[in-house]
Amino acid sequence: MTGPSARSPIPDAVRERAAAWCVRLGSDEADDADWLAFETWLAENPVHLQAYEAVEHLWSALDALKPVAAAPQAAPQAAGELAATVIPLTPRPRPTRRPPAWMGAVAASLLAIIVIGGTFGGVSYWAGRPKTEAFDTAMGQRRVVTLADGTHITLNGDSHLTATLGRHERRVVMASAEAVFDVAKDPDRPFFIEAGDREIRVVGTEFNVLHQGGEVKVTVRRGVVEVRPKGAPGAQPLARLTKGQALSHRVGAGADAVAAADPDVAMAWTTGRLVFQGERLSDVAATLARYGRRPIVVTPEARDMRVTASLNIGPEDEMLRALTAFLPVQIDRRTDSVRLSLRR
């Protein structure tokens, strides 16, 4: 940061422009486009950055005057009222829990599902027996496949599944996989996904299914899905999931837990990121272990540590290092496993 002591000639016009940016960006009307335009201006000439830093330095220095210079007019105003109108740039406690506003936007996008089913696959498969296709990804690989009915499946690394498009139903079997499904609507051909001992029934929707290491997790972004025990088509669904809900299940166990979940977080891997919001370190380790060959063992005293982070998906090693950069844990790499323990 350039202080006022490091002085070099800044043209008055540039200084003026820098001040105007400071005022504009400090306005409650400033939007994304303003910041992008500001970035463009900054990048044009190093003097622009220097001029802006000088204004910013002044702006920060003025904070020191706050106790003596606060507007006298503000005094009669009740402190509580004032606090409610200020745009806080520091966290403040959440007073009440409101239904998330983003859900409306997500619901609105439901109509955007494109129905291409039946016209796309060509005559060949209608004529003969349904063909089963296998899709596989290597560790660290991501792949988007489009089925003949227009359904998009985004596969995470180390995933193995098969898809069969039949005349009366569409069926995916997930051997061990994580995938996001954007299922083309086709009321005449329900879409089924087998994951361990669970079967997921879909009409047209977008959701994430994880089936790895005996864990089944379904997170819905759009539409409705039903989950049943596998091989019991007539059974009552165990759960009907709608947007913003997730079902967690361990293969072989009786129970299925349904909870609110952020589909953006569950699907962050499709954009190359892993997002954790206050999850236990042991759960985080289980997720990271899916990106490496060695199991990650967390020592008991570190298991319940809460992790909030957004990591770039990369080699397991790099992600662990990123994690230890802001968590008080240390990594011990052994030949057959990786150990995470509290840093001493």
């Binding site: 005022v23 504009r24 900054l42 002044l58 966290p91 983003w102 979940a261 909030t308």
Partner: protein, 171 residues
């Protein structure tokens, strides 16, 4: 896990843009990555203000504040290190100063005094608008409502105050 706020969604969309912006601001891609990671932690535990108009602009602002906080902390650290090495060089068990070296502290105080004087010379409306915004934290719209003028007038007042203060600060 519940309540996925629009801020997180905006962060996901804007992340690459933010890293690029703060790389430009800080001159270091690694610093920018760290900063944008900190930004995530910060917004994940905060409630967006009810009157937030643009989640993206809010992310840039919170990120900019984080950047300034960091550089302030670094300057303090540098000042302490400097003071420590001075004290260590002196050889005696003198207390370590928490402030910048004395001559710089004097210069900084003189600059602040000029700013105070500059504020006092501002026309009343200009001074009122500037103080409400800068020191009481009111948004431009709120200042406009309080003073009964248009928002663009508020921007003009704040701009003219800033211009006058820059002249005091960097003669």
């Amino acid at each position: 896990m519940a309540d996925p706020p629009p801020l997180i969604a905006a962060y996901m969309r804007k992340r690459a843009d933010l890293v690029r912006f703060f790389t430009l601001r800080t001159g270091s891609a690694a610093t920018a990555e760290d900063l944008v990671q900190d930004l995530y932690v910060k917004i994940s535990e905060m409630t967006p203000p009810p009157d937030m108009r643009s989640a993206e602009a809010f992310l840039y602002r919170v990120g900019s504040n984080l950047m300034l906080d960091r550089s302030k902390a670094q300057r303090r650290q540098a000042a302490r290190d400097h003071a420590w090495s001075q004290a260590a060089g002196g050889g005696g068990p003198e207390p370590v100063a928490q402030e910048a070296p004395a001559d710089e502290a004097v210069a900084a105080r003189q600059r602040l005094e000029r700013l105070v004087a500059g504020l006092e010379r501002l026309p009343p409306q200009v001074a009122a608008a500037f103080r409400l915004h800068k020191f009481d934290g009111l948004s431009h719209s709120e200042v406009a409502a309080r003073l009964g003028v248009s928002r663009s007038s508020v921007e003009k007042y704040i701009m003219s105050a800033l211009r006058a203060l820059i002249a005091e600060y960097e003669p």
